[in-house]
Symmetry: C2
Subunit: 217 residues, 2 copies
């Protein structure tokens, strides 16, 4: 799918020779991001990977922002939708949330973009929500409650995925929460110290699902 690295010459490629395409660009970009992180996604590095002049990319993608939102679109399209009508609504809601979380987890270096572009994102992002809405309607909720429940769940998944993602380049490589807590004046955070001493970790994603599903019903 790339031009020959050995002899790269200007001009329209001869017919039959492999040609650059939007799809090839997106595939290579996603591989680059998955391997080396979003900050490694550079028009120049991407071009090198495709054995192409950096500027060639601009004939298939208007700019870098469009490239990244194209990646988000690809990732959404990959989401494995859970079986639409299997089991009680509670379990369908849970299955949907796990599937959505797994979209983000499948591309940890892209979580930030997935989460922040989701609203403005593609058809794919909307398509994905249909089974969630269906499960909530089957729960007997009225339309307003469906919208609220879906929004709450989505925002929880977003927050969770972001927290579990690898830190962005700007983030400080902080001590784990427990160490930091241990170093603080106990009088300032008495409840937190007591609670965290008893239960260091917490139930994570599933515990959050339990709370939200219970709050919906």
């Amino acid at each position: 799918v790339t031009n020959s690295a050995a002899r790269r010459r200007p001009g329209r490629p001869r017919p039959g020779s492999s040609t650059l395409s939007r799809e090839a660009i997106l595939t290579a970009a996603l591989a680059l991001v998955d391997k080396d992180g979003i900050e490694a996604l550079t028009m120049r590095k991407l071009a090198a990977r495709l054995h192409v002049d950096p500027m060639s990319i601009y004939h298939h993608v208007p700019n870098k922002a469009a490239l990244i939102s194209g990646l988000v679109r690809v990732v959404f399209a990959e989401m494995a939708l859970p079986d639409p009508a299997a089991g009680a609504w509670q379990e369908r809601v849970r299955a949907w949330a796990r599937a959505y979380r797994d979209v983000a987890f499948a591309h940890p270096h892209l979580v930030l973009q997935i989460v922040t572009d989701a609203a403005a994102a593609s058809e794919a992002a909307i398509l994905i929500s249909e089974p969630l809405y269906a499960a909530l309607v089957d729960a007997g909720l009225d339309p307003a409650a469906v919208v609220d429940a879906a929004g709450t769940l989505v925002e929880f998944v977003h927050g969770y995925a972001l927290g579990a993602a690898p830190s962005p380049p700007t983030a400080p490589t902080g001590d784990p929460m427990d160490e930091r807590l241990a170093a603080m004046d106990p009088d300032q955070v008495p409840t937190m110290r007591r609670v965290h001493a008893a239960v260091p970790a917490g139930g994570g994603f599933e515990a959050g699902l339990d709370i939200i599903v219970r709050g919906i019903g």
Copy 2:
């Protein structure tokens, strides 16, 4: 707090003349970010604002990542903690969530950093959580339930704040959800169309709080 713009000369500043400081740098950086967004925060632009050579900043801040995490720290320290023991636990939890959300809303261009750095962040981020933990303990929850409830709430606020924040530079300027939904094949998203036709907007933040508080109790 800045050196004279008119005649900027090398060498140690004469005693008495105003001097660069970490605090002055953070203040100027936060003002810059609040006004023009995070992508406008450049060591060079920041230096220009301080009437200083770009490299002078590096004597007070090790690098740009540390500068940004310093901003997050400043913002957390600004959080107005709700009155610790006022009212029922439900209302205290709600008040805490609103206060935390408002930290993010006070600096919309910094939401991404606030949300992603929160875990690894400062003492301030931990201090802030104490009243939430206290309210949840007063609700009669055991330690494991406290950790789970706090985590769920925080992740919801993170997701919500991120969704409400101004789009990052990479995000596509998407059509609003409703337009996009209207343009899609009705057979693909029947439930969503029906629900959104009845209730376009949803209850937003407060609706989410209702669901989570109910799920906790």
